[in-house]
């Protein structure tokens, strides 16, 4: 690659509330290539691209475009530099036509010059095979055509760089193939394409170069030549070790105690639930967790993890099937009822959902138990009891906070998570559902939290751990399951599992 780089990111670091989203990441892009960024959810792919497109400002590092150092303060800046982003969730105005959406924010002068725009659109459409009726309203378009419009919107602004965030997540296989054809046409025309994905097959099939990210860091960069030397199986295995790291399969973790014969604490019987788009996000999920068991369910897709967690905790309606907790059918019970029965749910979205940042710690401790004595009687809160309880949590769980009346906003990410766990574990629940409990935390806090979960299970609590972190899966769980495309595709004892087996199941690579 002797050509001059189009974009060059060096040493990019970005932190959010104590979570390191990007740590010293380098990334470059040349004209006429498709460069994939591969990594599990939360690995920092999207953050990196949001820095490039001006949505976020890096804490450290430099950005060079056409070998000129630049500062990209807003998406407008990045558009001016010829960098266009196609987000996972579209940003079109649904009740405007395609052509109106394309010209939006791009009007020269006061009057719309749609005629000129039409000519330009036709030229672009013909060049890349992206045909679309310019007068259709966006809301009447299929998902594929909306995405096509998003791409046209970027091209309409004469961008050289096109960044696509998980573009195939909502497309069928055939639609995905036609998208890749378009991307190849763009490459031919000398444009540079960045493909953000967690789908390994897709990254291998479509791209010239793959950058692999893990926990906010760049784990590896593989060029086409490097990959070409390997067959497909060897290539995917190599990438897997980069994505998940090499983990000792036996040893470090605690031995799972066998508590068999008991009735399971919680049991799902052919449970189905719909996701936010109304599709069946969980299909025929059946499993049980016994007393003192930790079932780790690995899923690469964040939305699927969340759906399963909320289905059990009650925020999501169960479309069909049955949920049994301690021999009681709780399929139709509300969140509060399930909480009162002893189901504790630790969300993965600790900042936006697990707490109220602008309230103090004391008020946050009763977020779910405000209706129970001693925190309230006859609907009247007992501030004294709440405060002393909060002070106890702070002390027992080593939460670094000024006191019960400190706002949650003043805490670091790790301490917020400790606090949420402390709250969730405080009244000895029968079942703990926790989603990605250690995501983005430092090693010491990670160890502390894993220890907490293991101790809790030793007291007889059933734990459901949802995670994409294979390391965590092996170091905590007694049983391991894999959720892929809404189905449980594997369920085994930890002793029977190997890293490779789990990773392949997570990514949907069938062994043949």
């Amino acid at each position: 690659m002797t050509a001059q780089s189009l974009v060059k990111l060096t040493g990019i670091t970005k932190r959010f509330r104590g979570v390191v989203a990007n740590s010293n990441v380098d990334f470059d892009l040349y004209p006429g290539e498709i460069h994939s960024i591969l990594g599990e959810n939360g690995a920092g792919k999207t953050t990196l691209m949001k820095i490039l497109s001006g949505v976020h400002q890096p804490d450290a590092g430099t950005i060079r475009v056409h070998d000129q150092p630049v500062r990209i303060r807003s998406p407008r800046d990045s558009l001016k530099l010829g960098i266009g982003m196609v987000y996972q969730h579209f940003t079109l105005v649904p009740n405007l036509s395609v052509i109106e959406n394309l010209t939006l924010g791009f009007e020269d002068g006061f009057f719309l010059n749609l005629k000129k725009a039409r000519i330009k659109l036709r030229r672009i459409s013909e060049a890349y095979g992206l045909f679309i009726d310019p007068d259709r309203e966006i809301r009447s378009l299929s998902i594929r055509d909306r995405q096509r419009t998003e791409i046209l919107k970027v091209l309409f602004r004469d961008s050289d760089v096109l960044v696509l965030d998980e573009p195939t997540s909502m497309l069928s296989a055939a639609e995905a193939e036609s998208l890749f054809q378009t991307l190849r046409a763009l490459r031919q025309a000398g444009k540079a394409v960045v493909l953000i994905t967690h789908n390994l097959n897709e990254a291998l099939a479509a791209s010239d170069r793959v950058t692999i990210m893990r926990s906010g860091e760049k784990a590896a960069e593989l060029s086409n030549e490097a990959l070409a030397g390997l067959d497909k199986k060897a290539a995917s295995e190599k990438i897997l070790t980069y994505m998940f790291g090499s983990i000792p399969v036996s040893g470090a973790g605690v031995a799972a105690e066998d508590v068999s014969g008991d009735q399971p604490v919680v049991e799902l019987k052919r449970v189905e639930a719909r996701d936010s788009r109304g599709r069946l996000g969980l299909k025929h999920i059946s499993f049980g967790i016994g007393k003192g068991e930790i079932l780790g369910i690995a899923a690469i897709d964040g939305e699927e993890r969340r759906l399963l967690a909320e289905t059990i905790a009650g925020q999501q309606r169960i479309a069909s099937g049955q949920l049994i907790y301690r021999q009681q059918d709780i399929t139709r019970k509300t969140v509060a009822e399930r909480f009162n029965l002893g189901i504790s749910y630790i969300t993965d979205d600790r900042i936006n959902e697990g707490c109220v940042l602008d309230m103090d710690l004391a008020e946050n401790t009763i977020l779910k138990s405000y209706g129970q004595p001693p925190f309230s009687r006859w609907g009247i809160l007992n501030r004294l009891k709440i405060n002393s309880f909060a002070a106890g949590l702070i002390k027992n769980f080593e939460i670094r906070a000024a006191g019960p009346d400190a706002r949650v906003r003043s805490l670091s990410g790790g301490n917020i998570q400790k606090f949420i766990l402390a709250r969730g574990l405080s009244d000895s629940p029968g079942l703990i559902v926790c989603n990605s409990p250690t995501y983005g935390l430092d090693a010491k806090t990670v160890a502390f939290i894993r220890e907490l979960l293991i101790n809790q299970s030793r007291r007889g609590t059933a734990v459901l751990l949802l995670t994409s972190d294979i390391d965590e899966l092996f170091s905590v769980s007694s049983h391991i399951g894999i959720l892929f495309n809404g189905e449980i595709v594997g369920l085994m004892r930890r002793t029977q599992a190997t890293t490779e087996k789990i990773a392949k199941l997570m990514l949907g690579i069938c062994e043949s």
């Binding site: 749910y345 936006n352 959902e353 697990g354 109220v356 309230m359 009763i366 405000y370 309230s376």
Partner: protein, 347 residues
Amino acid sequence: MTDLTSVAKADLKPAILSIFSICCSLIAGGIILLVIGKNPVVYFGLLLARGLGSSLGVTESIIKMAPLLIISAGLLPCFSAGLWNIGAEGQFLVGAMLAGWAAPLLAARLPCPLYLAAVALLGIAGGMAWILLPAMLKARYDINEIITTLMMSWVAISLVTWLVKGPINDLSTVPAQTTLIPLKYRMPMIPCTRIHIGLIIGLAGLIGMHWLIRRTTVGYQFRVMAANKNAARHAGMNIARLTVYSLLISGGLAGLAGVSDVLAIKGLFQGNWNPQYAMAAIPLVFLARLNGWAVIPLAFFFSVLGVGGEFVARELGVPVFFVHVLEGLTLLFFAVSEYFEKKWEHQ
């Protein structure tokens, strides 16, 4: 000791901001007066003299506080829940209309305390009914309550005007109005004063709501809902039900304010009568930063403006609406001061 001073500082800061914005609005109002050729010093001098300078003025101002306090009491829980009932005016009118219609009918038939309670409940029910539709639309379909409550106000204005010209019109009088309530069936006075017990209701309501928001589980849920809806959903709070509750409280109290004004002062309901207390109560509650105690002095200040403004209008020829201009300006400056406060906090 340091604790005490820091608490005092925390409490003082919002007060300073509110006072600052009031001063700014008075200055800006003065400039407007200069532009239209009136002497601001004379205007404000007269306004304060009429509203505060005599026992008559002070009493009038205190009487005028009652509807402001009652409406504000209702707005507190609803604003604290992050819901914006902008249509308290309509709920007020429906409550007032019902009181004007029902009071003469019930007065002679029920023992006095029961009669007062019945009219009050009817007014509360009327105000609640008037906000029920916006509340349901918000709870069920997340339709913006700012728009719907405001629209319902316009419907209320037309509805009560029509009712008072037709179905509930007292045909024995020339103007479109309900039957005059005899003096002995009016709302009782606070002993030894000319001030009716609406003031007590308003104060009690205000302090009660202040307490409800901060010390009860319902109020807690309102606050969580306002601060972080996702957290409320995650914790299993019933957001739809909370939305309806908080809006109903606010509609009911606005209706009660209407009852109190008709039963205590007007003695009847007239077609073209619309004192627009809600338009003063909304900025009031904002200025008080949703603190019930702070509403009280601010309500007094707004009343002084209102009472003084009416007198001065006659003497100087400055329209009565000018007081609304001042109220609006206060809110504007309050918004500006809040913006700067946030900016300073970030630095």
